[in-house]
């Protein structure tokens, strides 16, 4: 962020004067897109991870067995997202970081390239992300006879319902609602596919399933943040706080409006059960 605010390169896209001054790169649309991507994902990831931490503590202090089962089930379902999805996206964010720095990002003069190199291992150890995807599809989807996954979607629906009541957020909330409905359909469909003779195709879609589940969980966290921010903006706050809360609203608008349509496209892909991955012969991969 600091670099994008201070690094001067290029004229503003809208400046027509020949002698217009160059501007910090944060004023260029492509850079803003990358930065808002990094912002919204960082924030969503933080919320997911700390939320799981809270669930762990709630398990510890619960006196009710039903509560404990609910919280533990949510933790168990969210863990593949916490590890597999988050580290996949984190590596991409580190790569975006290099991109923002431009040529300097590729050099050792700046710390960004180390972050990218160091981050890669998180996709591999403690269970590769392929394994995390299999865990979500093969185990966690049907945990407690599928109840825990349903509980997760119910938690998401609570935030959607609150958001629908806020006029400025209604469209965004409906967008997430559409996504949750589709995710439920994909979950059901994949569950049947992996029990059928198409099981290999089902598991070929394990990683995409992790992706779309993760996208939905991220959107939930980000919408939850935005709903809180909206309430706060109706109260009295410092200028700095107002800027922060407005940032929350924009992260939500960005993530839900630009990422979820892609997620839903991916869900359509999963539902289509394309089997090319499974059908291609080993020889046809070539390279021998």
């Amino acid at each position: 962020m600091n670099y994008a605010r201070t690094r001067i390169q290029g004229k503003h896209l809208l400046s027509s004067a020949k002698d217009a001054t160059s501007v910090p790169i944060i004023q260029h649309p492509d850079i803003r897109r990358i930065l808002l991507t990094m912002k919204s994902y960082s924030e969503g990831m933080r919320s997911i991870l700390f939320y799981i931490g809270l669930l762990e503590d709630k398990v510890k202090i619960s006196e009710d067995d039903a509560d404990r089962t609910l919280y533990q089930g949510l933790i168990d379902v969210l863990i593949p997202v916490a590890k597999g999805y988050i580290t996949d996206r984190a590596f991409e964010m580190c790569s975006h970081g290099v991109q923002v720095f431009g040529g300097y990002g590729f050099t050792k003069e700046y710390p960004q390239e180390q972050l990218l190199r160091d981050c890669k291992i998180t996709q591999i150890y403690e269970g590769t992300n392929g394994i995390q995807a299999m865990d979500l599809l093969g185990r966690k989807r049907s945990l407690n006879k599928g109840q825990s996954f349903k509980d997760l979607l119910d938690e998401i629906r609570k935030v959607i319902d609150t958001a629908k009541g806020i006029i400025s957020f209604k469209e965004v909330a409906l967008n997430l609602e559409k996504t949750v409905i589709k995710l439920a359909e994909v979950t059901q469909n994949l569950g049947e596919t992996v029990k059928s003779e198409k099981i290999m195709t089902g598991f070929a879609n394990a990683h995409p399933f992790l992706d779309v589940t993760g996208d939905t969980v991220m959107a939930w966290m980000i919408l939850w943040r935005a709903v809180l921010a909206t309430k706060k903006l109706n109260e009295n706050h410092t200028k700095k706080d107002i800027e922060f809360y407005e940032g929350q609203l924009k992260s939500a608008q960005f993530f839900i409006n630009t990422v979820l349509p892609v997620s839903r496209g991916k869900m359509d892909m999963i539902l289509s059960n394309d089997s090319s991955v499974v059908d291609i012969s080993e020889a046809a991969f070539g390279g021998k």
């Binding site: 605010r5 990831m45 919320s47 700390f50 939320y51 916490a82 580290t87 972050l115 160091d118």
Partner: protein, 313 residues
């Protein structure tokens, strides 16, 4: 001044405005953790991360670890950082104070870890492993094992690791061949070769207590026949004093793409037939034990990745 590693305002937003972590202080277990304490913990973590961990991040990456005659040295700069880390009692943040922990709520520890990992994740890998290995002892250890090992691990005097992977057994951990044969006493003779062992050997600590997955002679194939053992680098006698080196040798470290500050070791156990371990938990229950720890381990890896992204932003 630009925020470094993590945006404090955002950390506070999640802890207090989104999740209301202070609600936990209504319960006896977390009674000390009101907003003031939570904020103080996060500030202390942030200070340590920015003052001691971040400045040596690059140097440690460039220096890396070195291997000579079975000994591994970690980046010189880590010794100072480690001393501060131990002094602040940061290794076992959420654990029982009776064993050297701080009894914190998980979410608060995660906030601290956001700063620590974003500042210097290769350094933190040492600590996460010490804590994880300690947790296995806390959950599955006999009173004797806890007495001998736990507090030293949670306070960071001794380190830990996780010996699972072998050259033919990565994702397919059930294919491992490291063997355990029962001795006449309570110990087992362990023989085998492990690879990709983070912190398997290092000079940060005076002893390392290794949890090792192995198959007891005669146990079934696959994951059903795997047991968990505690194999100290230096044998610890019943009275807590050091015995001999436990016939466990580091045979080399990997040259890697990243996390140069953490040695990724190949380990040979029982080359002279003298490597001893004690059973941790029940026979053939090694995988169940690992699964208990798996959630926490995986959550922490997510935290590591996220912290890199957070620092990038």
């Amino acid at each position: 001044m630009a925020q470094q590693v993590a945006d404090r305002r955002d950390v506070d937003f999640v802890l207090h405005e989104q999740l209301n972590i202070e609600q936990l202080s209504k319960y006896e277990q977390f009674v000390d953790f009101n907003k003031k304490t939570i904020d103080m913990v996060v500030s202390e973590a942030r200070n340590l991360a920015l003052k001691e961990l971040l400045p040596c991040q690059k140097e440690a990456d460039e220096q890396g670890c070195s291997f000579k005659n079975g000994t591994v040295t970690v980046p010189e700069v880590f010794h100072r950082a480690y001393a501060f880390f131990r002094e602040g009692e940061w290794i076992a943040m959420c654990d029982d104070p009776d064993w050297g922990g701080q009894g914190m709520p998980s979410a608060v520890a995660l906030a601290a870890n956001n700063y620590f990992n974003g500042a210097n994740f290769p350094f933190m890998l040492h600590n996460i492993l010490s804590h994880g290995a300690g947790k296995l002892v806390e959950f599955f250890g006999t009173d004797k094992q806890k007495e001998l090992f736990l507090e030293n691990m949670y306070t960071g005097l001794w380190g830990g690791s996780m010996l699972l992977t072998e050259s033919e057994a990565g994702s397919d951990v059930g294919a491992l061949t490291t063997k355990a044969v029962k001795n006449n006493n309570d110990t087992y003779a362990i023989t085998g070769n492990k690879i990709f062992i983070s912190s398997g050997e290092n000079n940060l600590v005076e002893n390392i207590i290794h949890p090792v997955l192995a198959r007891i002679e005669g146990a079934p194939d696959g994951t059903a026949g795997i047991s968990l053992f505690l194999v100290p680098k230096i044998w610890v006698n019943d009275d807590g004093s050091f015995g001999e080196f436990n016939d466990m040798v580091c045979t080399g470290i990997e040259k890697k793409m990243g996390i140069h500050g953490n040695p990724t070791c190949s380990m040979a156990l029982g080359g002279k037939g003298q490597c001893r371990g004690t059973l941790l938990g029940q026979e053939n229950q090694g995988m169940s034990a690992m699964f208990v720890m798996m959630n926490e381990a995986r959550l922490h890896v997510g935290m590591q990745g996220f912290s890199c992204a957070s620092a990038s932003y």
